[in-house]
């Protein structure tokens, strides 16, 4: 039972600052996904925790004890690597057993237990080059898990396995990781994986945590326009607006139509903003009316579980709408009208990208 705590950790490589005052705490038994675009410093963070290099500044604590300066083998950390990093000259069994300092019979029983759990008992005698990518990845996971480490670091472990297996592992991993009491830090570039596996998400952008919250909160209430764009497929629709407050309600002109954006919080209008609306919150119909944006359908992509429409609004802005497959979609080149509910609108400051007035825009989760 040990808590992982990262306190104001910074690291610079020349001009690059892949970690710039990072702070995060992971409770025992909790899975926190570190999610961010490539080059945002995810791997650097993991490697500092694992002791492959030391932070320039700040502290890393495992179970309340600072591990900065301690060699990797004394940190109580297990890690699974993106490239598996199996020992090519050892069998899968020896790879897994390498994490144990125990007597022969105990090693055998623990290797048997963990490999049964990960369904790789039948390949224990094989060398890594004889394993499929999925088996390699399970072997690497078994090696990381077998020592019951206090802290488990998973560096994009599903990156190099095929789509079907990735899906299976997304379902399997949370149960597997919650068996122990390890504090789990899970790095990924795939927002779906992050949302499927993690209790909390830490969004890392340019060496800083832009937001740390539950997956549902981050999706519904992104802290900034940059985060809103990272989550969701298709990505969020944006439009430049200048909302005005009237009778306690915010509204703005979007492509020639006046759209209601919910209750105004303060007295002043927010000024120049980004309006963000998720594609699945758009409704498309042929009926004109109040609060409907005139648009033209440019293309329709059927995706079986939904249909994605590429729309051009009256002012030329291109938006995407994700509709249920059975909803009337129309055809390419049709003129349509786009609506969205006022509570689906998110406003972000134009200059800083930060979200404005998050309290009254809480979506029912």
């Amino acid at each position: 039972m040990a808590r992982l705590e990262i306190n104001a950790v910074s690291k610079a490589f020349g001009a690059a600052r892949p970690a710039d005052g990072l702070s995060l705490a992971v409770e025992p038994g909790e899975i926190v996904a570190v999610f961010g675009p490539s080059g945002s410093g995810k791997t650097v963070l993991l490697r500092m925790i694992a002791g492959m290099f030391e932070p320039d500044d700040g502290d890393i604590l495992v179970g309340g004890r600072s591990v900065v300066g301690a060699p990797p083998e004394r940190r109580g950390i297990g890690m699974a690597f993106q490239n598996f990093a199996l020992f090519p000259h050892m069998t899968a069994r020896d790879n897994i057993a390498s994490g144990l300092r125990a007597s022969g019979s105990e090693v055998a029983s623990r290797v048997a237990a963990i490999s049964k759990l990960l369904k790789i008992e039948h390949v224990l005698g094989h060398a890594p080059r004889e394993l499929s990518n999925g088996q390699k990845q399970r072997t690497a996971l078994a090696r990381a898990l077998i020592g019951n480490p206090d802290v488990l670091l998973l560096d994009d472990p599903l990156r190099n396995v095929d789509a079907k297996l990735r899906y299976e592992m997304r379902l399997e991993l949370p149960n597997l990781l919650r068996r122990g009491t390890a504090a789990v830090l899970y790095v990924t570039q795939d927002y779906r994986e992050a949302m499927a596996i993690a209790d909390r998400l830490a969004v890392l952008i340019d060496g800083r945590f832009a937001q740390v919250a539950t997956p549902a909160d981050i999706y519904a209430q992104p802290a900034s326009v940059a985060i809103a764009r990272l989550f969701g497929d298709p990505t969020i629709n944006l439009a430049e607006v200048s909302p005005v407050a009237e009778h306690g309600m915010l509204s703005a002109m979007v492509a020639g139509a006046r759209m209601r954006l919910g209750a105004a919080d303060g007295a002043a209008s927010p000024g120049s903003c980004w309006l963000g609306v998720r594609p699945e919150d758009l409704a498309v119909s042929s009926a004109s009316g109040d609060g409907a944006i005139p648009a033209r359908i440019l293309a329709i992509t059927p995706m079986h579980e939904k249909a994605v429409l590429l729309l051009r609004l009256a002012d030329g802005t291109e938006w995407l709408a994700a509709l249920p497959p059975d909803a009337p979609q129309g055809a390419a080149d049709d003129s349509v009208f786009v609506r969205f509910a006022s509570d689906a609108a998110m406003l972000f400051d134009r200059a800083t990208g930060l979200r404005i007035g998050p309290t009254h825009r809480l979506k029912a989760a």
């Binding site: 694992a50 002791g51 492959m52 060699p71 990797p72 083998e73 940190r75 950390i77 297990g78 890690m79 690597f81 490239n83 990093a85 199996l86 020992f87 090519p88 000259h89 390498s98 994490g99 300092r101 080059r129 690497a140 090696r143 990381a144 020592g147």
Partner: protein
Amino acid sequence: MEHSSLAGRIFRGVALTLILIFFMFPIVWIFLMSFQTNEQILRIPPRILFEPTFANYEALISGQLRTAAGNLQISFMRNLFNSVVLSSAAVLLALLLGVPAAYAFARFKFRLGESIAFTLLSFRFAPPLLVLLPLSLYYQELGLNDTYFGIVWVYQLIALPLILWIVRGYFEDISPDIEHAYRLAGHSWREAFTRIAVPLAGPGIAAAGLLSFIFCWNNFVFALILASADKQPVTVGALAFVTASGIQYGQIAAAIVLSVTPTLLLALYAQRYLVEGLSLGAVKG
């Protein structure tokens, strides 16, 4: 291969035979010479068929060289023994020093690291004869002249840079993550070095060791200047066959056959490691 025509196969066979004869001829000729007397060798025209004699080998093994001018003492077997001792010791020492050094150069960035590595390589640039004069003066001062240790030490000029630079490349090809994974599994860096890095670079280490053994074995000038008769290897010992009464071609041929044999056996034994080693770096696996 099955698709080629009969003519193609015959042509390929003939071409291979010709190439083989061309390259193997000197070796085969020396092998034949080692079973002939000086008179048979110098006969014109030379003959392929002759009555073989083991006199050359007998002379080498017994150390008695019979020439027209009388009996000469030669210490060929002693030279052969010296070659084995000197080359093996030099390669062992170079491996002991060079493999950890290669690992350090491959894994750690430190001040002057590249300069030190390049300086070690530059030992190979210097003409040995230029180095030898000051070296022999130092050796006399230090009392290292005509000692096994002195020659093994100077052989490091040959073996150490070779091992360092070949093995370094192999270490650099190993993903550092593999060693990190081993350390996170609770092992010290020393264990990661001996149980992960060295076994994985094994083919490269074998190849570098074999190559430097061959280079040490074939070295001539260092031992010529720095060692006296009882410490000299075969390369220098072969000079004894240039006698007052002529050059003993038969014995030279026999000496070559005997002195090539150990390296040949070693190379044959290490061949699979060598081939694996020379190709492993090229193909990322």
